[in-house]
């Protein structure tokens, strides 16, 4: 009889252990991150107040998980939100991405874009070809000053403002233009160049590029003042 009780208790405890293991296992999910051109990747749990799309402050505590190799799997608590910070290799950007409500196993790929400094460095050598493409597309480009502009992503997109410098005109607005480098050749992707660029008018240009070019600040000295005169330095 005693043996039977002992056996029953053993089975009961084993069942509890298996159940606990299953519950514990089910409360974690696996995150795999593949990356390239990255020097460091770290994962932090996000607090409730940090959920959302805005930029997050990197937690001050050193409680993050640092990945050692690309493709490494990490087990994380299920149902929570996480933020992944990555430092680009030299010439590549540092950035972050938020994983809201991680409820199932997930695989992420991180291929960072070029850093702002690297893009600025490359812009110097690309500028003559970009200006040439603009001249070919718009014979009246001489009426405008081409602002230095900016390269985006891996340097294959470029956006700038064209500031009117011709004789007095009721159409002396500053225009915005986007070019793409395809097979080594710069092509104007927003024809016509326009005062503001919408995703509906230029669906072939990625929205983030259009939005970035719409946000380019027009050099102060050439902004028209109410009343209409162009201020020249």
């Amino acid at each position: 009889m005693r043996r039977l009780i002992f056996f029953g208790v053993a089975i009961f405890l084993s069942a509890i252990a298996v159940y606990s293991f299953m519950v514990l296992r089910g409360s974690y999910v696996e995150l795999v991150i593949d990356y390239k051109n990255v020097s460091k990747v770290s994962i932090y749990e996000l607090g409730d107040q940090q959920h959302g799309d805005g930029k997050k402050d990197k937690p001050e505590t050193d409680s993050g998980i640092v990945l050692k190799t690309s493709g490494e799997a990490t087990r994380l608590k299920k149902g929570l939100s996480y933020i992944v910070y990555y430092n680009g290799a030299p010439g590549y950007e540092n950035n972050e991405l938020v994983i809201p409500n991680l409820n199932s196993d997930k695989r992420l790929v991180i291929y960072p874009y070029l850093s702002r400094d690297e893009l600025s460095r490359r812009l110097v050598s690309e500028t003559p070809a970009i200006h040439q493409a603009l001249k070919q597309k718009f014979p009246n480009i001489g009426l405008y000053t081409i602002s230095p502009g900016q390269l985006y992503w891996m340097g294959e997109w470029y956006g700038t403002t064209l500031i009117y410098q011709g004789p007095f005109s009721p159409n002396r607005d500053t225009l915005r233009v986007v070019l793409e480098k395809k097979d080594g050749v710069w092509l104007v992707r927003t024809d016509p160049a326009y005062i503001s660029l919408s995703r509906f008018s230029y669906p072939e240009v990625p929205f983030k590029i259009l939005d970035g070019v719409n946000r380019l600040v027009v050099p102060e000295v050439t902004k028209p003042k109410p009343g209409g005169a162009v201020i020249r330095s």
Binding site: I141, Y164, S169, P192, I195, F200, L210, G228
Partner: protein
């Protein structure tokens, strides 16, 4: 007497059960057609106006009637109930005569036209809340802003900036941003602007 009642009850229960079971996994799609006598085809199979139950997926709804242009809509049916409007426009004297001679059909036609206009207006307001502030005129800018449909993207809005100067257009753009509207996400037409970049002779006007 009792056996007959029992049989009727069983038939009713069976019918209800069959109806309920046959609708499992399907979505309620209400098809509004005008004229009411137009023939509906769902993926080339004959169907009827009113409530249809369809499995989630992409369907082509076509309505046909002699004297009217075919109306065709491709709809992605999801898991939530939805409605499809098919308005056939008369494209011959025969079609126009049919509407004139059938007051009930004309009423249905006008009701659906008005319903579609209301839905489009609601969709446009949802896509661009800024239109509740329009039309807007700024005499100092100077600029006026109004809106119309975006012909390239149904349900979307085009903002039309007019009565403006270069400074006015800049002020209009700032006003649009101040209303919380991202200019990248809405079509904006500056109706007074002729680009000197592409329009010969506009630079030295």
């Amino acid at each position: 007497m009792i056996p007959i009642a029992a049989v009727v009850l069983i038939i009713v229960i069976s019918f209800v059960a069959y109806t309920k079971i046959s609708r499992i996994g399907k979505t309620e799609v209400t098809v509004n057609i005008a004229p009411l006598t137009a023939q509906l085809y769902i993926d080339n199979e004959e169907g009827g106006g009113g409530v249809n139950y369809l499995k989630p997926g992409k369907y082509t709804f076509v309505a046909k009637k002699k004297g009217f242009a075919d109306a065709e809509v491709v709809v992605d049916v999801g898991t939530n109930s939805q409605s499809v409007d098919l308005l056939l426009v008369p494209n011959s004297p025969e079609g126009r005569k049919y509407l004139d001679e059938n007051p009930e059909e004309r009423r249905a036609y006008e009701n659906l036209t008005s319903e579609i206009a209301k839905k489009k207006g609601k969709e446009m307001r949802g896509n661009a809340p800024i239109i509740s502030q329009l039309p807007h005129t700024d005499l100092v800018g100077p600029f006026s802003i109004d809106y119309g449909p975006n012909l390239e993207e149904p349900g979307q809005v085009t903002l039309i900036v007019s009565n403006s100067t270069p400074a006015g257009r800049l002020a209009a753009l700032q006003w649009i941003k101040d209303q919380g509207q991202n200019p990248s996400e809405i079509n904006i037409v500056y109706s007074d602007f002729l680009s000197p970049l592409t329009e010969p002779g506009k630079g030295g006007d």
